[in-house]
Assembly symmetry: C2
Homo-oligomer: 331 residues x 2
């Protein structure tokens, strides 16, 4: 038997065999009841969820499994939480290759291990052929925050500095290139990676990180706009300061895309107190996941709630949220 049957989602013998053969060795499922039981310290809990429907399932430098683990790790991390436990829920299309499922589960196991989190509970559903697209994965996650960490767009203030932790647009461009049959030498890889270790060093370096997000769908444009609107400030970034790989620039020119709107799966935007910006940048650049960190802008008084980009030639343009979906199913 090399393909998923409806019975693999039936709750009975086939499902038990699938779980025991593929999920138990890869994850930390413990007693296999319907809930994982975990010991926790008192404090603030961070709780998040994300479903992943990326197409194609496998791409340069990762797959849907890598994304599903790193995405949830990062959602917890950018709140300032230490990610601890993940769930993994699969919706699989009948006929899906068990060998592909196995590869994805293996990726999740490796990604969890790399991020230092445990996958402790899960679920498997199977739908008829044609009623899903290969496999969809949901990961929820819980993490803990120190009592002294409080990151919120309401803390953004005038003269704060905007930092990005790496080159923008690599993940979205990688998926887009894959879909269009384009390849690069060297290959353009997804930026999917866990940010918890980088964030830990940032929090140790500065108590003045006011805002932190990972700009996935909608790209850094949408994330910055969210920060501007929530804080009622103006965020001004300079185009020539944005770290962008040549391949991404080329692809954007070719396909008419704006890198500000392209999804990232392993970078973060931080808006921080000006006095801490240089030491934070130094710490971030020393970390393997922050080597290309850069200061890209600052917070101004007006126009309120706006994001402005200063172009290389000194012109200015207003950046709005993504209004359509330029790259569906990017994650």
């Amino acid at each position: 038997m090399d393909r998923i049957l409806l019975g693999h989602g039936g709750g009975g013998k086939l499902m038990h065999e699938l779980i025991e053969k593929h999920f138990v060795p890869a994850f930390d499922l413990g007693q296999m009841t319907d809930s994982a039981i975990l010991n926790v310290a008192p404090g603030k809990l961070a709780f998040t969820t994300d479903s992943f429907v990326v197409s194609p399932l496998f791409f340069e430098g990762g797959d849907i499994g890598t994304l599903a683990v790193n995405g949830t790790v990062n959602d917890l991390s950018v709140c300032g939480a230490k990610p601890l436990y993940l769930s993994a829920a699969f919706i699989i299309e009948e006929g899906f290759l068990i060998s592909d499922l196995s590869k994805i589960v293996e990726s999740m196991s490796k990604a969890a291990s790399l991020a230092g989190v445990k996958i402790v509970t899960g679920d498997t559903k199977v739908v008829e052929k044609g009623k899903a697209d290969g496999v969809f994965i949901n990961t929820a996650g819980v993490g803990f925050l120190s009592e002294d960490v409080e990151i919120s767009p309401l803390k953004i203030k005038i003269s704060d500095v905007v930092i990005v932790s790496g080159e923008i647009g690599n993940h979205g461009a990688c998926i887009m290139a894959g879909r269009n049959g384009l390849s690069f030498t060297p290959p353009l890889l997804t930026d999917s990676r866990p940010l918890n270790a980088l964030v830990k060093e940032m929090l140790a370096c500065s108590k003045n990180i006011h805002f932190m997000r990972d700009p996935t769908r909608g790209g850094i444009a949408t994330t910055l706009k969210e920060g501007a609107v929530a804080s009622g400030k103006c965020i001004m970034i300079k185009e020539h300061l944005l770290p962008i790989a040549d391949q991404v620039k080329g692809l954007c020119d070719l396909l008419g895309l704006d890198p500000l709107y392209i999804a990232n799966e392993g970078i973060l935007i931080a808006i921080v107190d000006k006095q801490d910006a240089d030491k934070l940048l130094e710490v971030m650049r020393k970390h393997p996941h922050g080597r290309n960190s850069a200061i890209i802008g600052e917070v101004l008084t007006a126009p309120e709630g706006m994001v402005i980009v200063e172009t290389a030639l000194g012109g200015k343009r207003i950046v709005e949220m993504l209004t359509h979906d330029q790259l569906p199913r990017i994650c």
Copy 2:
């Protein structure tokens, strides 16, 4: 605009509008960052996840939203945990009616309110028409356990008593009837309901609840078999003691189904110390979600790891786990 577009999953303006119009009024999303931040007491955390792919989405007495909330509430409850917070992640097919999404979200809001839990974080993805089937929903949940609660199949012992909290098979039969265009007078309703209040009273009544599960996919046969295998004991149930609605009996006869394998979404199986069985039954029958509770069997020494049903005529048959999937997409 009355239908879901790909852009509703793009992370930008359309998605923000969808969230603000439909999800914010119905759920407890707080600051709308990617993770919810919650204050917790020290102790044992229960963490669970379930995806829901039921077809049809709407059925007698409930819909996919009701199931998604109650299912996760129940997974936490049968571990002995008090369910507190849920996540809600939607995978929506392009073209899905926004009015249907709105009904489902409303159901989730009501179900959460009824169960006393909060939906605190969420996610929305949209896939192209034909790449999903309407909507799939994942709910993950966190709850807390008292330090003195420990429910585990390893605690099952000889002469323990098996209790079921209500009529079996109603949910599965309701879905099956709906799919086959059959209707009953009065209508056969899903049994989907939250079990946390019932479990709370059970835990207050007895410290000797050894095993507790909600028998969803695979029915009570599969749940009892899991208990028998994990404990290495024999579970013997008597067919004539099983509470089954006449409509479910009739439908099972008509379609050739065994009610032991039909999914339930609002009953639980408890295996408890014999000395506490009668007082537990009394407490359970007083609760609106346990009115039809019944003692259905007992735990024997041998044959080890087996579930035996004694038929009304005194014959015996061995019950195995569900080996195929008699009712795909029941939840």
